[in-house]
Symmetry: C2
Subunit: 259 residues, 2 copies
DNA sequence: GAGAACTGTTTGGGCCTCGCGAACAATTAA
DNA sequence: TTAATTGTTCGCGAGGCCCAAACAGTTCTC
């Protein structure tokens, strides 16, 4: 079997399915739309869009509400199912809540899919700051502490595949933007066991993350805590909090062996 | 415009899209599957299934994990988006947490879509019992307290459409199973302002629900609390708790006017 | 370790379907 | 009332989709 985890060129596609996927995407971007609007937007005839929407509505992927079409709540159902398929999800969620309570900050959980990071849970302690991330959100792996923890545990060829697919787009001027820089950073992460984000994403925001590994060495994901530079500094930032995060990751790993 | 909210017969469909929808459904039921298994299950050729899966993977609706295909976490993203489109979602969530804390029981939130009820949130108080429902779960409206609250606020012709589409399938021997019985019950719900489920779904489980209405009379959904008959009895079941649930629904309605 | 019996993948070709354009309703705007 | 939207339906031709079959890897069995 050719290891085509991320190659996208080969093999046949089904045009009709692609059109329906584009419709879903458009409905999401536009917060719902009508037949004409979609036809215009996607460059297809109204008739085509109409028959697609009818099929999608049959299957309850879209719903007709006061005259235009919207994304259906069926996605909530399937989304919850997808989360439940991540076998450490429940264990991690519980531990995250505890971690957020202990530190008073924001605690988050991310896993890798399609070469990007997906947030699966977010717990808020009493001093928790607002963060832009939300459950389901997808981010490039090279520009967050969570992502770097994940990358640090992946084999080199896998990392190269991911760079090939997504590149290293710059979020801010501090973002890692070359392969060398990235591999250097990952080496440090592997040595220290934790990854940092020191205002790389947002001015004033710091973040500490640790990977979660399966006993067989396979990677599960990563957890993190985030907070303002005013509270994330000195020994607390460099020793106390990293130990707490690693401890939490370790607890999850131990609990996971019992699944 | 012909008011075809629920008619399913007319209009053209796109077969290829239907096949992809069936694939998604099958992947969910089987917790992932391979090409051959899906081809067998859906009665299509392997080549067909393969090209569909490739297209769905391009769009990140499915993911290839150690050799077979699974539902992707992209659904989590779209599902969270769909929830956020329900404009009272955040307000209701907050109020539900308070309600669960106040009563110590399970508090839930449901909205109607496609003629069925969809759970959107579940808050657990300290004595909360285990319930089978989960976020995203879809239930027929006639057999739960939440569903009955919702139906009680819908116009008669809409209710008939729903019955036409889904029927009144019996869950247990206590389930409402005729149109007359249902309309009688709904009349009572409208008069009292709350709906009950007295061990109709599960032996030993009682439930109290109240609808949430938009100021313009449009329906938003319903909230409920559930608990064991040992705690849901006497005045608490017939007066105290119903008042609390109605109060919470009212708070949500008031907060919703500010959106 | 060789063969069988699975997998997933690729290819060619014929039937069918899908997507288009245009006409038709049904609202809304002017 | 007219004009300009919308969504819906329908006939038709070209193109795409689905199938069968061959191919290529992997795993099982003995």
């Amino acid at each position: 079997m050719s290891k085509r985890q991320f190659e996208t060129g080969s093999g046949r596609r089904v045009q009709a399915v692609q059109i329906s996927c584009d419709i879903i995407q458009a409905l999401r971007e536009k917060d719902g739309a009508g037949v004409s609007e979609l036809a215009e937007h996607l460059g297809r005839s109204k008739a085509t869009i109409h028959s697609h929407l009818t099929t999608l509505a049959d299957n309850e992927f879209v719903v007709q509400r006061d005259g235009n079409y919207e994304i259906s709540l069926r996605f909530v159902d399937i989304g919850e199912y997808a989360k439940s398929q991540v076998d450490i999800y429940e264990v991690t969620k519980t531990e995250l809540e505890r971690l957020a309570e202990e530190t008073g900050e924001v605690a988050q959980f991310m896993v890798e899919e399609h070469g990007r990071g997906v947030y699966l849970h977010k717990a808020r302690g009493e001093n928790a700051i607002q963060t832009a991330s939300y459950v389901g959100n997808r981010k490039y792996l090279h520009c967050t502490a969570l992502g770097k923890s994940i990358l640090s545990q992946l084999p080199e060829e896998r990392i190269d595949q991911i760079i090939d697919r997504h590149g290293l787009p710059e979020r801010t001027e501090n973002t890692i933007s070359t392969r060398e820089e990235l591999f250097d950073t990952l080496e440090t992460v592997r040595r220290e066991g934790v990854a940092y984000d020191d205002e790389e994403v947002l001015q004033g925001l710091r973040c500490i993350a640790a990977p979660i590994q399966h006993p067989n060495g396979e990677l599960y994901g990563a957890i993190s805590i985030s907070g303002p530079t005013s509270r994330f500094k000195g020994d607390r930032f460099h020793e106390e909090l990293p130990e707490i995060v690693q401890g939490a990751a370790n607890i999850i790993e131990v609990n996971a062996t019992q699944l």
